[in-house]
Symmetry: C3
Subunit: 305 residues, 3 copies
């Protein structure tokens, strides 16, 4: 069922209902146990990164290799024929002849949708502008599930750049499938966009918007922080003014519950002080670890019969 | 025989006689049928791309992986020691110690010849300036063979930038081994160079030069279009003036024969209108597909005993 | 023993005593004989190159593939999250979740030490600013051992940029474990730094400093030349003035002993004239060959139980 539903790929968190999420988390947990698999031997993953990436690209590639597959691709649009003026549609209709699945990251919000429209093989959206980043959100849910517990009933704060941050867009959409209390914490200039809030309202998600995270730190089970997305600002002065708005520090941890956990999709700039890193409540590096089993699970679903 | 003749690699289309071409096309057809091969397991292909590429690099890499081999290399001269001032000869004499075959693309026309002069392992020319691109021409012939039919007797138009376009140089050389009628269609400024025409005359190829493709559209079996090579123009104003000289459109198809097929090595900029893409006469994306079996065949010949 | 001692990785030549060097050279010799190994199948090497490289990166990757493993990584800091402002420590704590060993090259001298401090998997220093490049020095010793003979008693000249050249720093440290006579040959501006000489004095290494290599050419067994490191000069005029200080030419060979051998870590710019390349005394390309067995040996030690 998952295989059929997602045969075109993973483009948006909106494709997922609760059953899909629970299924892929179960599969990802199986991948944690799995050693030395060759189930994707002979398969080729294409990773087309028009924007820089460390985590997403390397974790997809690692996941592919851990399952016995191979990888082709590029790390920057500068070295591809895009530089000669080629369209995304043409690139996709070419690369689909060389591979079994395409992972694409692009600065344009519609890039992954466009790619999926033209492709005969599955497309995975690895970040489309300030739009979405659905596989990141799936690994975030796996992390919460494994490190905090079942989602229903949790108080979850999403904090930072809620306007341009694609990971929080996809995460809030996935969370709308669960009975959670969501807190959107941001400077006024970086509030969650109306189109995203409208979607949550339709799904009757309980959410609150606020600016000062300290007010609710004692009730949160999860705080998901994000970086202010420098590359999305047109005005670099506004970026400079806002980037240091939040700095989560060791003393903030004192007010938090015992089972409180701090997540971040990384990279982190200054928004979490390094003295927080050694707390067992800080699980953002563990979070990167969960990217491997989740991506192994997704790749296996999309490329096996 | 092929193996011995090409033990130094594939540098120029001029190395190929009719027998060689028919042999490698036969081998490429066998590769279309072949699934899950490991005949190049343990072998390493080095892909040294000093100029940007999507199709050529990724299809060589895909072909290598499909045969069980591995790939090392770089996608841009900027990340290699060339940036520190190293010569091509030194790079080659180094990389030959790390790999079993080297694929090289470079902006200088003599780069592949120079590389082959110094290398003890086979070199494949994946595009040398505006000189040649022989493996592209081989996959073009495979495409025509499979999608149109035997070459002898065909009316074939090569159109666009015949001066700087390396793919048409190699293709016209390969075609000189067959009994074809060739039409060179270009703006006056981008005519086939004398040195290339002299070669065809020596081989008694029947060709005509013209500017307006519409005059012969009704007799062509194959029209092979090319992009105006922006990166070869010294004068950007001249490029801007000429780049839109030809735009093949849906209405052009009406005049063509039933078995007419439109090819393009891609990337395509504006020279073929997107409304042509869905015609069964437009086979430029299928053409990228034939790159895999042709390159699998070539790699297998060059790296197995 | 080696495995335990180096379980954190290869950061500095100072980690090695004579026994360690002899052990890893023995292992590298075994790798020369070894064909088609799969001892690192299922393992992943991460190659994080923040500075350009041809030899080091490609030879690590080739060595990894020759042992059946896989490789992820990047060839330039520009395509990673470092560009978004991420710290090395965060990058390492991420990538260690995707791989079994990390190879790092960085322009900062302390980068590899910092990486090792944060990593739970082995780190290999593949060049840290003008500091060290220990695996290059190990392959240099393997080359001398195989092509000249046992190290004790040899007269070895290190010539060129002894101030900024990281390979000569690591090599002189390794040589301090043997009973060799070392000659440091450089322009006055590029002399070996005091901190490096102090280390050799502590270890009672016999060394002399001079400027004119011709004075001792007749007694040398090995001359190890290096490139003037353009990228380390703050003042480009000073670089232009000094870069042509030494040019080793064919006529220099006349004065050398029969068993004299000329090494160079490459890339070579103008400091060795190309007419020297064909002499059997010039073994710098053979030297690149020895990079594969040495790196195979190191990777096998660090990634097998």
């Amino acid at each position: 069922m998952f295989k059929e539903k997602f045969s075109g790929g993973i483009i948006s968190a909106k494709q997922f209902d609760r059953e899909d999420i629970e299924y892929i988390i179960k599969k990802a947990k199986e991948m944690i146990e799995l050693k030395n698999s060759n189930i994707l031997q002979g398969k080729i993953l294409a990773t087309l990164f028009f924007e820089p990436s460390t985590r997403t690209r390397l974790s997809f590639e690692s996941a592919m290799y851990r399952l016995g597959g191979s990888v082709i691709g590029f790390q920057s649009g500068d070295v591809s024929s895009i530089k000669k003026g080629e369209s995304i549609a043409d690139t996709i209709r070419t690369v689909e002849n060389y591979s079994d699945c395409i992972v694409i990251r692009h600065s344009l919000e519609g890039a992954a949708i466009l790619a999926a429209k033209f492709a005969k093989i599955p497309i995975i959206n690895a970040g489309s502008g300030s739009g979405e980043h659905p596989t990141q959100a799936l690994l975030d849910l796996l992390t919460i599930n494994e490190e905090v517990g079942p989602l229903d009933g949790l108080n979850i704060g999403l904090m930072g750049d809620l306007k341009y941050g694609r990971t929080v867009h996809s995460l809030s959409i996935l969370l709308s499938n669960f009975n959670v209390n969501v807190y959107f914490i941001s400077p006024l200039e970086l509030k969650m966009r109306n189109r995203d809030k409208d979607f949550l309202q339709q799904r009757q998600v309980k959410y609150k918007e606020l600016t000062d995270y300290r007010k609710i730190l004692n009730i949160l089970d999860v705080l998901y922080m994000t970086r202010v997305q420098k590359e999305r600002f047109v005005d670099s002065e506004e970026y400079e003014r806002i980037k240091g708005f939040y700095i989560f520090q060791q003393e903030d941890l004192i007010q938090t519950k015992n089972n409180f956990r701090l997540l971040h999709p990384l990279p982190r700039i200054t928004e979490i002080s390094p003295d927080v890193d050694n707390s067992e409540k800080a699980i953002y590096f563990k979070q990167t670890y969960y990217g491997i089993p989740m991506r192994k699970a997704l790749l296996a679903e999309l490329m096996t019969d």
